[in-house]
Symmetry: C2
DNA sequence: TTCTTCAAGTCAATATAGTTGACATGAAGC
DNA sequence: GCTTCATGTCAACTATATTGACTTGAAGAA
């Protein structure tokens, strides 16, 4: 029996709601999935996954970042960083060189191939956001940003 | 050396932006984190984690759901469901009984203890959303829902 | 020059969350 | 009685993370 038509990922479940905010709660879940779905598929085709993308994303925006700083931003241990980072170096999507004056740390940079993959993966995510923002108009997009900011900064 | 003050989770990185929508992209990432952070901490104290919570969440809204239907909604294999589900049964947060007329399937229900944990965990997530919505007002919340719906339904 | 510090790299063991494949059980329907 | 179907379970594997312990190699200071 073929699975009832689900091109990719899971359909939104539409469970009965027990609370006022259940719909919003589920939207956050499916929104996250919706944004990352195509990017993850693209990355999988390249033999990469989300952790690799996160590394590429950060290095693209902080060229010559040291490994310690990268660990801090990603919020993972250096052992957890080790495998994906080495894969990216082996595949020549990243380069590392010693700092000229601060020879203890290694500075990371994207190669052209790395930049291309980072851009394509991030483009998939931005495309989903752009289409949603286009439908909502500028005021809707602004409101979305404000609400997400408040959620993100929850302390 | 103590980590530079980060009560829980990671601070928002504030990377330089390469694209218009990078800020939105990062907001989605940190928003997801912001919503789930306290719930995850609460669950960890109970010796549970997000997969357990997802099971409890669904069963709370679909009492007497069969295992096959639960698998479909969660989008995981029955082998992946097996461990967390059995833990919840052992801990008596869930009960399972055979259907009276359809004796092949097992029907799942929350116990009182299960309901309590599901509520508290989901309350942590809803609290974050409620505070953000309160700040944004009804129009902002409505706009947020519309944008998230468009992102979630990205096909 | 040795000693210490520090960034980075590596090894081992463990946990969690998932996968596919194979097979058992037990009730339902024909 | 044979088949179907929901469930359960075993094994092997992958990926992503953790903590702890240790090495390497350069920098800075005594």
């Amino acid at each position: 029996m073929a699975k009832t038509s689900q091109a990719a990922g899971l359909h939104r479940a539409s469970l009965p709601k027990l609370h006022d905010l259940d719909a919003a709660l589920e939207l956050m879940y499916y929104g996250w999935r919706g944004m990352t779905l195509e990017a993850d598929e693209y990355l999988a085709k390249q033999g990469l996954s989300r952790p690799h993308h996160r590394i590429l994303y950060v290095v693209a925006r902080r060229p010559d970042i040291a490994i310690g700083a990268l660990i801090e931003i990603l919020g993972i241990s250096k052992q957890a960083l080790n495998r994906p980072l080495n894969l990216l170096l082996e595949r020549k999507l990243l380069t590392s060189k010693r700092a000229p004056e601060q020879h203890r740390s290694k500075l990371l940079r994207l190669t052209e191939a790395g930049r291309r993959i980072e851009q394509k993966a991030s483009d998939h995510e931005r495309k989903v956001l752009r289409e949603a923002f286009d439908r909502a108009g500028v005021p809707g997009a602004t409101a979305w940003m404000a609400v997400m900011g408040a959620i993100a900064d929850n302390n």
